[in-house]
Amino acid sequence: MGLDRRSFVALVAGGVVGSLATPVVWKTLDDISIWSQNWPWIPRLRYGEESLVPSLCKLGEGAYGVQVKLVAGHPVAAYGNPEHPLSLGGICPLGAASVQLLYSPARVKNPKKRVNGAFVDISWDEAEALLAEQLKAAGAEVALVSGDDTGTAAEVLAGLVAALGSQESYFMPSEGAAAAAAVGLLGGDGLVGYDVEGANFLLLLGADALGSSGTMLRNAKAVAAGREQGVRVVAVGPVLTATAAVADAWVPCKPGTEGMVAMALASLIVESRPDGKVPGLADFRKQVAAFAPDKVAAATGVPVETLRSLAKELLSASKPLVVPGTAAGQGMAVSDAAAALAVNVLLDRVNVPGGVMLLPWGPKVVAAAPDQKTMLARDVLGYLAKVAAGTTSAPKVLLVHGANPAYALPDLKTAQAALAKAGFVVALSSFMDETAAMAHLILPDSLTYERYDDAYTPYGSGQANYTVAAPILKQPLFATKAAADVALSVAARLGKELGFASFEEVLKAKAEALGADFETAATGSVWLGSEFVPQKLSLAKVPAPGAPHGSETTVVAVAQPKIGSTKIATPPFGTNGISPRELQGKDMVVAMNKTTAAKLGVRAGDAVTLSGAGGECRARVRVFEGVVDGAVMAPMGLGHTAWDAFSRGKGANVFQILSAQADVGGASRFATSPVGVRKA
């Protein structure tokens, strides 16, 4: 019997009908649909042993302990560390994104050198050889700008620079430096901290103490705990910061006049205590005479009654504490800090429970390096301004470590001009930030979770503390290297031995110098110091604080870790936290009150051009009554030109319009600046 066409069709039809009663069609369709879950580009979760490992977050302006959750040895999330005195379980938005940042598209994954305007990947051996060659040729004409003012890595790098014969090592500006300088003006010496937990009346003169300033996580915990004990918090400042919003009272004052408010309070306190026995009081009486409440009220916008009421509260509280600062978390005037410190001195609130704590400087272990006090006192703004102006020779090699001076300095064009004048810019950066983008050589620094790191007594700590973070990952994710190890290696190539073979050894020496056990510290146990530097503070030379800018409008820069810091641009996680109150489309949003808007002839939603001494930027107007007359509140952290798609090209960089104003002792203030506003 042959298989004719008719039979064949019947066979096939039978096969099709039969197959419908089998799993072939249905199972295949089902499996194909499920197969789409396993396409190779779809990320897969890792499963395995879970653990929490202590580490450090130094992505913002301070440093605090975190706990990193590992699954099968891989970091997946970061939490606050309840055991760390500066976290107490809290975490900032940058810390929360710290694991994500390990995988940031902006990470520099291997050393790069600039060839004909473009970056070319090179090996670490070639990179270190190139740096050694450039340093050798530069001789003593080398400089360092570091953003790591709590870590020992900066000490190693400064040690290399000093070993080459240069003293041009600087930290980026910080509130801690201004506060320490203020202590110096009063004849004291030490790092500045605040025993926030011990105070029962907290007067914040500009400081966004719960949002961006000092040990903000710890401060927030202390304030929250204090609520139940009846602790009162009053925030003085030109804008309703995150802190002012939750304080018991917000006392609006004109931008940059917090120091004057402090002097008026000092004047009222002096008046109420005619028999005071504070050193230098006689001279101080003369100084505060110029800050009578009625005069200050007119200059600052704070009513006389409010000043009297605040002075009364300070005098009646058993443990009052005055904390200076700015909404920007930097750019504080030394004179303002000195005025606030003077009030604390008048109230006998120095080195007492609930008071200002003057803490010992961190020990130096790299013999060639300048000590912490010297480094913190140096003025990077002044140095760069002189380089830009040509009054100081530009460094032949400029090392930039953990900092982004091409983005985060006032008078930005001046800073950028100074960087452009440097012969050879070396960015020791983990990310392709604005400074790395203009560098000649990028030596990518490993992130904290990939290397050793440490932090000694960040600004605002209530007592001296030292935290060591051991590497969490066995190997860095990419071909990166700890900047301090690079410095040690290059120093060895140049025959300028710094006395240590590795950064780990340096940290062991640091721990030993403090009397801490390194092994214990490296497993998350924080060393706490109990010593306070004996002080003989005098009010004889308290300088007059800065006066209002005198301009019709003043920009008030506000730092918010959710947007970023001076070191880190908005991480992917952060983009969800930026609201239309900060960014609309590609425009930064600035806030002003109804009166200011009317005076400027603008309405909510209008596009405006802000012009400062250093340049201009575009923004949109938001009308908000949490801003005093004449002030324009602008969010910091926007307007990046490098980094990645999560931060680049979004809004404007406030540093473009911030300008440094001269303050006492050659220092400068820049948290607020005169600004012009016109419709775009």
Partner: protein
């Protein structure tokens, strides 16, 4: 006419039978590849020989999450050195314990990442309600892997979860399993 009918019916029936045989017998053999575990883990030796209970190795963590299979480090609590003469134990110690490597065990009930299965919520069920009864096996069963989807043949399908939930009165809302 009769010839005409038989020339259609017979091939049709042959086609039906052939496809049924192929579909029910040959297709599963082709669809699944067969794999064996990297180490022949003998549950019987541990359960009966050492009187160990399931939860000595398959533990709940403090936060209630399920650790699943023990890590090499956990096994090394007892097997830091070779204890017997089983070549697979020797291989485990030399290849994994001494090298600090994790064994890439094949998980019979592996669920995709988009399924959140909480073991602690199901702790009152017998393990064997869902898992193969490996505690009685000296040699782990063959692992059948679907060549198309990549999943284990034993991976529980969503309808099975839903059926049990419906029967036990548990919610079948999407978010119960898909976060």
């Amino acid at each position: 006419m009769a010839n005409s009918k038989s020339s259609v019916v017979l091939p049709f029936l042959v086609g039906v039978v052939a496809s049924l045989v192929l579909g029910w017998w040959a297709f599963p053999k082709v669809l699944y590849s067969q794999k064996t575990q990297p180490i022949r883990f003998d549950h019987v030796v541990h359960v009966e020989g050492q009187a160990m209970t399931c939860d000595q190795c398959h533990v709940f963590r403090e936060n209630g999450s399920f650790a699943g299979l023990p890590t090499t480090a956990a096994c090394a609590d007892c097997h830091s050195d070779v204890q017997g003469e089983d070549p697979d134990e020797q291989k485990f110690v030399t290849e994994y314990v001494q090298k600090g490597k994790e064994v890439e065990w094949l998980v019979y009930q592996y669920q995709p990442d988009n399924v959140y299965f909480s073991h602690i919520a199901h702790k009152n069920l017998e393990c064997t309600s869902c898992h193969l009864d490996v505690a009685k096996m000296s040699t782990p069963p063959v692992y059948y892997q679907n060549r198309i989807s990549g999943y284990s043949k034993n991976t529980m399908k969503m309808w099975e979860c839903e059926r049990c939930h419906a029967q036990s009165g548990a919610s079948n809302a999407c978010f119960v399993c898909h976060k």
